[in-house]
Symmetry: C2
Subunit: 288 residues, 2 copies
Amino acid sequence: MMNEFDIIKKFFQQQSIHRKDVILGSGDDCALLKSPPDQLLAVSMDTLISGVHFPKDLSAYEIGYKSLAVNLSDLAAMGAIPAWFTCGLSLPDFDEDWCKEFSRGLFDLANQYHIELIGGDLTRSKILSITIQAHGFVPKELALRRDGAKIGDKIYISGKLGHAILKNYYHRPEPRINLGLALRGKAHSCIDISDGLIADLSHILESSKLGASIYMDKIPVVHQDALISGDDYELCFTARAELNLESDPKLSEYNISCIGQMESQKGLRIYQPDGALWIPEKSGYQHF
Amino acid sequence: MMNEFDIIKKFFQQQSIHRKDVILGSGDDCALLKSPPDQLLAVSMDTLISGVHFPKDLSAYEIGYKSLAVNLSDLAAMGAIPAWFTCGLSLPDFDEDWCKEFSRGLFDLANQYHIELIGGDLTRSKILSITIQAHGFVPKELALRRDGAKIGDKIYISGKLGHAILKNYYHRPEPRINLGLALRGKAHSCIDISDGLIADLSHILESSKLGASIYMDKIPVVHQDALISGDDYELCFTARAELNLESDPKLSEYNISCIGQMESQKGLRIYQPDGALWIPEKSGYQHF
C-alpha cells in the first residue's frame, strides 16, 4: 500500500519540464520561486468538485486536464504568461490508475504551456475535489483588467459560445493564453467566459462603471442557451473602436467577433435581430 | 438570498489591512502582486477537511483561524515573512453566521501577521473543506530548507510536544513565524512539526541524506504519545553545535531544547532514559 508521500513522488514529482526560476519545488515546507523583477505576479485559484463542476463519471485524464485549464483561462484573461501551479487534491480512495491518468491529463496541458507543478497537498475526503492555483507574469501596464473599459470601446468575444454543452469542449477547454498575450497593449479590459457571456460581461460593466449594448445576431453561438451557459472559456474583451481588432491580422487565428459597444448608460442591453430588447430569465451559473 | 458574489463581498473583501504590494486584490480574473526583487517567493498550500483535519463540531472561528495557521507554520519553517494568501472554500450550505465567524477567525490571525487575502474561490460541496495557499518572502541564502543539515549539528525543537491533543492547542496553533525569522542565518535546516516529531524529523534526515540520534529524556512532552502525534506546529531545526542555540539570548523566549544530534549513520535512533533504543509502532499521521 502506497502512502501519501509515495503517491506524490510517483505521480506528481515526475513532470518532464523544469523551469530555471523554480529554486525549490515540492518536497519541503514551501516551494521557493524567483519572480522577474520587472513584472507583476498574477495568481488565480479555482476549486472543482465532482458532481458540481464535472460529471462524476468523467475520466481522470479529463479531470486533470480541465482542473488546470480553468486556471490557465484566468491567466489568459489577465494577459499573463503561465509559470507555476500548485494542486490540492482530495481523494476518496487511492487508486493508482486514477492518479496516473489524472496526472497525465494535468501534465499534458502543463507541459504545453511550460507551467511547472511546484507543490500542493494530498488529502483524503469522501468527495473528490481539486483546488489549483496558477501563477503567471505580466508587466503592470499591460495587464488586462476588468476595470479598464472605456465609453465607445468595441466589445469582442473569441470563438463560438455554447460549445461547452457538447461533450468534447466541456471537458477539454483550450485556454486562450496566446490570445491574452496578443491582446496586451490592445485591449482595455478582458475577462474569460466561465459563467456565461451575460454574467461575465456584466463583471466588466460593473468594474468599469459603464453599460453596454450587444446584438444577438452578431454573437456566434452553437445553440440558443449559449449566452447564459458557462464553461466556454473563450475571452470577452473591449478595445478602442478605431483599432478595429476584428481586422487585425495578428488576431485572425482567434476568430474574434465584435458583438457590441460600451456606453455611458449603466446596464446591459441585449438586442434581438428585430431590434427588440431581450430580457434573459437568468444570467449565468451561481453556486448559492 | 445572497449569491456567491455577495458572500465574497460581505465577508471576504473587508479585511482591515491593505498591503502596498497588492496591486489588484480579489474581484478580477487574477490578483496582481509585486514581489521584492531581491528575495525568493515562498509558497505553501494546505487543505483542511471537516471530520479529517478538525472535528465536525469545531466552531467556524476556530476553523478559520486554524486553516491559515497551518500554512503560516510552513512559512515559519522556511524562515519566510508572510505577505499574501488565497482561500478556496467549499461549503455545504450558505450560513451567514458561519461565514462571519469563519472570516473573523481567518482575519484575526491574518492581521496579526500582516498577511492579506488576495483571492480564492467559493464553491458548494457536501463536505466542508478549506484550501489555503500562503505566500511569503525570504532571501535565497537565508531560507531554512530541509536538506541543509550537517553531521554534528545539534537538533532542536521549540516548546513542548503533545499539546495538540489538549483542545485549546489543537485548535489555535501559534505559527512560529518570529522564531523562523530569528533562525535565519543560524539554522542549517528546519521543518514544522505537523505530522509528529518522528515523521517530520525523518524528512530532514532523508532530504539531508544523514541520520540522527535523539534522547527521550531531553524532549519536553506533555504526554506519552507526543512523539508520534501531529498538529503541534512547533519547529524542529538543526544548527552547528558550536552555536549553542539553547543559550542564545535572542532565542530564549521560544523555549528551545536540544534533543540530539545529526550523524553520518542513516536512520533515526531514539534512546530511552536507560540507554535502550525505542522502536515506535508508527511514526505519524498518514492519510492513505
